[in-house]
Amino acid sequence: MAGDSDPILQMVHLTKRFGGQTAVQDVNLSIAAGEVYGFLGPNGAGKSTTIRMLLSLIRPSSGEARLWGRDVRAHPEQLARVGSLVDGGTLYPFLTGRENLAVLGTLLGRRDPRRADALLEQVGLATAADKRVKSYSTGMKQRLGVAAALLNDPELVILDEPSNGLDVSGIGEMRALIRRLAREEGRTVFLCSHMLHEVEQVCDRVAIVSKGRVIREAAMVDLLERQGGVRIEASPIEAAQAALSPRWPTTAEGGALVAQAQREDIPAMVAALVAAGVEVFHVSVARRSLEDAFVSITNEARA
């Protein structure tokens, strides 16, 4: 019997082959309650196929997708605790937004017009709720898809490219919504996105996939700090560079220095600067962007 201490979502040797082509290969991941987990990869990396296996839309060739410790194929009832947005909100075009939520709520056995209204308000579709979905823009469909994903008050929310088709303000709202789902409402979010800036801002942990394999899994903070160095704002900059270079190679970047050093080196670096009569204004671990990390990691994998 699986208990609440089990990881919410697990992939165990999850593999999917289509004919002779392997779309997802031996993926092993474990996601704990309350995490916002990013699933990143270039197009064709197998992200959507993985999500489809999690939702029991397609059958794994081998391995298991487990929800709350149970294989989702054998225990599809676990999906009642999951909300999902796949393919940008696939909804009935001949029904209105409100009717779509009513159909889905009825299917779930928990039709609640007040909750549907609240969700429509939350995703900014209150005024368009009684229009047929076929008249919606891509962004509106996407937002209705998010409302549909939250209809069953899920503990785990699986979002596949939730910002596709949204404008700049819509992307910001989506990011805020994802943060709220995790931080305020305590839900676990599994976010599949190619929008690295979005993922960088909301995810606690990420897995990077390429050609169906997970090539790196790490906490976001570790991923961004890796090989980043230490950034120093000091004056005069030439004296600072001269003081540090013997032990930590440095380069000048935009009025500051970036030294090839680790966080643990910072006290010694500051001491060396002070001993050289340099004024130190700011020292921090240099962070690379997720985009830099992503490109670097995927290039390493290709090599």
């Binding site: 939702l55 839309l57 009825t106 069953n152």
Partner: protein
């Protein structure tokens, strides 16, 4: 299960095609009655309903026409098209992804069969009730209805007419659902259903030319045999070539049941194993 049925009904009832494929039957009855009322007495097909000398069983049989329409080729084409919409539509709208994570696949399939059948039965029952009401209206405008038209007689006649329609409807739903699920397409399902109904009809025409055992394994004879037992109490013989024994009703019921259950099982098993990309 009830949630799946209610959701399916809510969805299909709101689709525009439901008017053209399901509610067309009662609408058709109303239109025929209105046209009849607009024509001079005695010139319309319904004019005879206003003749008190007409035997009551003939008058009642006139109101059961809707069930014969339902079991006819065109009626079955409509059943096939609507079933194909119910099953194939989810592929066209890309909405299996929306509902499959929230329900067991066999339940979703069963809900579709239940709702499609329920809607057609509701439509035909409404059309039959309208036939009786409008028949009485037409009769009251003419010289009156014949005596002996009782509720029990009406119920018996309509039940006898409805049973063959039910059999052909269940069979057509099977053809259409298998076509829609295997081909993942509404038009595909509709074409398969229409083709199967046409082949059934042709099988009746070419019965003397094909192997008798093959013919008896097809549903064509058994549908007519059951209809014959219901209507006359005896077996149908007109489709059998010489040397083939007439089948008892229970054999026909078993063969037809096997076809229906088999088709539904194929649709359910194929869907259960299907990847929804």
């Amino acid at each position: 299960m009830m949630g799946a049925v209610a959701a399916e009904a809510m969805k299909l009832v709101r689709h525009r095609a439901t008017w053209g494929l399901v509610w067309i039957f009662p609408l058709g009855v109303v239109i025929v009655a209105l046209l009849s009322l607009a024509l001079p007495h005695g010139h319309s097909r319904l004019g005879h309903l206003g003749s008190p000398t007409l035997p009551p069983q003939i008058w009642i049989a006139g109101t059961t026409t809707i069930w014969k329409v339902a079991a006819s080729g065109p009626g079955r084409f409509l059943v096939g098209a609507f079933t194909a919409l119910a099953f194939g539509g989810e592929y066209g709208w890309n909405t299996w992804k929306l509902i499959v994570p929230h329900g067991r696949r066999p339940v979703l399939i069963a809900a579709k069969y239940g709702v499609v059948l329920g809607l057609f039965i509701a439509s035909w029952a409404l059309a039959a009730a309208l036939s009786v009401i409008l028949g009485l209206l037409v009769a009251s405008i003419g010289d009156g209805a014949p005596s002996g038209i009782t509720l029990a007689a009406l119920a018996t006649a309509h039940a006898h007419a409805a049973l063959p329609a039910l059999g052909s409807t269940l069979l057509t739903m099977g053809y259409a659902s298998v076509g829609a699920v295997v081909l993942r397409s509404t038009p595909g399902g509709a074409i398969v259903a229409v083709a199967a109904v046409v082949v059934e009809g042709l099988a009746g025409l070419i019965a003397p030319l094909i192997n008798p055992m093959l013919f008896l394994s097809l549903p064509t004879y058994h549908l007519r045999n059951l209809q014959s037992f219901i209507e006359t109490g005896g077996p149908a013989s007109q489709l059998l070539s010489s040397g083939v024994t007439q089948g008892p009703w229970c054999v026909s019921l078993a063969v037809l049941g096997a076809w229906i259950v088999g088709l539904y099982a194929i649709a359910a098993v194929v869907f259960e194993r299907q990847d929804l990309n």
